[in-house]
Symmetry: C2
Subunit: 450 residues, 2 copies
Amino acid sequence: MIPQWIIEKKRDGLTLDDDEIRFMVDGFTRGSIPDYQMAALAMAICIRGMSPAETSVLTDAMMRSGERLDPSSFPGPTVDKHSTGGIGDKVMIILAPLVACCGVTVPSIAGRGLGITGGTLDKLESIPGYRTGLTTREFIAVVSACGCSIAGQTPSLVPADRKLYALRDVTGTVPSIPLICASIMSKKLAEGTAALVLDVKCGRGAFMKTRDQARALATALCEVGHRMRCPTTALITAMDQPLGRAVGNAVEVAECVEILEGRGPADLLEVTLALGAQMLVLGGIEPTGERALERLRPALASGQAFEKLKTMVRLQGGDPRALDEPARLPKASLSASLPAPRAGFIADVDAEKVGRACVALGAGRVRTDDTIDPAAGIIGLLKPGERVETDQPLCTLLAGSSTRLQEARRWMDNAFTVAEVPRPVGPLVLETLSAALPPSPATPGTRNPP
Amino acid sequence: MIPQWIIEKKRDGLTLDDDEIRFMVDGFTRGSIPDYQMAALAMAICIRGMSPAETSVLTDAMMRSGERLDPSSFPGPTVDKHSTGGIGDKVMIILAPLVACCGVTVPSIAGRGLGITGGTLDKLESIPGYRTGLTTREFIAVVSACGCSIAGQTPSLVPADRKLYALRDVTGTVPSIPLICASIMSKKLAEGTAALVLDVKCGRGAFMKTRDQARALATALCEVGHRMRCPTTALITAMDQPLGRAVGNAVEVAECVEILEGRGPADLLEVTLALGAQMLVLGGIEPTGERALERLRPALASGQAFEKLKTMVRLQGGDPRALDEPARLPKASLSASLPAPRAGFIADVDAEKVGRACVALGAGRVRTDDTIDPAAGIIGLLKPGERVETDQPLCTLLAGSSTRLQEARRWMDNAFTVAEVPRPVGPLVLETLSAALPPSPATPGTRNPP
């Protein structure tokens, strides 16, 4: 096969054959297809798109580029959750131990933050000693021992994605639904989950700004999941406001502890339970979402989920005492509160501005090789609908230097809108999508091990 | 400037700023923009297109990537001609000396053949001793001495084009009008011609298959020429049938000699005179095409143009005796004639099939690094409208091996259509395009030396 002929087909908007897609992915992974040919193909895909069948084959070819775990490696039904990323999205740290308490096994390969959206691995690494760089054997051992593990991608897992993502990042080919789909799904399918719940974030603080964009991505993800015989449900959730009252790394872990202790912000709890319910249904633990909620709530209230998180942290080398006593988490040397300019009701908190302020504080990355300050972030964010008096703090900024505090403050200047009368607060879970499994085994390749 | 932001703009169909285009071309030439970013940009340009203003800036940036000759380096008005390539297109070998006899100076940097279309340099190199690899100084000296030179691109001339063309060839980004335009025009403007006549070939044997495609390319080329203050006229000429009766290298040189001696095929003469008339008009030698023809015809009939070609050949190291006695040109060891299956009139000769047969004979290249057989080719091609008897040769194939003859024969099997009654033969020159010079100096950059 001639690479440029395949590139030309996609350039002209035609559909690629299965073996053409596999030839390009395999060659690119092995190095026989150079970066410049893959860059041209990625741009053609970005502009011309891919059919669901093509996207599934791309996902399958990428998944097969490295080591793959089989769901049978783990005890019990496996279900993972993936979020497309938002501001203050610490859900996974609560969700994984919570559903593990209810009989769902969660082998979760998570990511790092980039730009305004944070990453679960960065947050967990603020716990002293917590190791995200597990070997495959260690990962399986932790999952088998406590029912869940949240770790980083090993070098042998989906090398095609690592290579392609780095290339897309510098060639203007990131925002392509088929390429995003294949990147997410190839990693999730390779980690050995049998089913998947997706949290597709939608709004100012998310990658997908509009409902239509979010729906298109959610639909494409579900379609690939089902073609790959991985039952997939996607929730589209609002990401115009930050999730919870804390944004950063250590501060988000501390907020997870609040939820696991029966306190914490209502919006964070709501999204966590909505996703957890879908995981229990997909895992076959409960037949309906309502029944699933009846199982999730006591697991949380009893402190069982909190104990599970501490076990997972301990198994991954972390100090569980940092969860019992959040004062043991990294602490910022400087803080500054943002006073309300006038009394009224919080009408709006701009998640994007909060995210940019957090990057300025040092809690996020501009480039993949930036280091982050685990203690930096924002706490005590007032939520829409809440009453505020003049000069009362709208939130508190935490950082390691006054320069950072000042820069973040500029981003926060117009982040809050205070109105005279309370405005209605919209729903958090906007839509739930799932596709029925195809009637016959999917052609692009099922996930049985080779 | 961030390369991926520029790539993203073009990906989204936006117009690039002048300095963005220059930043990408300069960086790519110097090596600070890697191949993969240029490949992504080339694909985005291929699909999204470029405005005439963007194409002019791209041309200008590429032209400035290396050495440039100024029209004032040469005596008299300089006008060059460029053909987009066809089967049997040996026009330049007759045209350059012919118009040089009439007072037009022709500094012509020509190319090699690739695929089914031949290259003027390959044809000229079949003349024993002829050097196409002149230095800039030698090139200027030949032009100054005899009024014309046909040579190859020196390494210092438009290095951006050499690098970009090699990349486009392997990334499926060849058929893009702005990229083709910039490639052609940057070289022509750098070689120091003050005006340009273009022969945009249209039909089966050409890159542009339809009249609309040819017109789009011709329009874009004229527009760039005039924005760069290089008066440009484009002729769209038919390339469904091969031009002349000979296709190959040495055999085409021999056919040029026939024309220069007052014989030779009428279609080749017609296209040569049509292009020559435009060159004389653009060079300010004659006010109209009709008047120009009155000057061209005697220059040909008197043998003056033939003498000029021999002078040019001698100045470039070639043996002019090979033109007086074409038996001195390389001669193929094997030949085979193609008998007419029945009597009638030639209705059609498929230029594409003739071109493919010539590649099979060894007269053309599949890849840029293939070597060619200067003696191989096809001669004695009957022309549409001509009468043929059963078993009379339709043409004669020349090659160095019987395998090549056999392979070429398969391509020729259906190349000729013989009809019972003569069919009308269409015109050769289909359209003439030229754009008026813009009222004020073009913004993208005039060609005054830096």
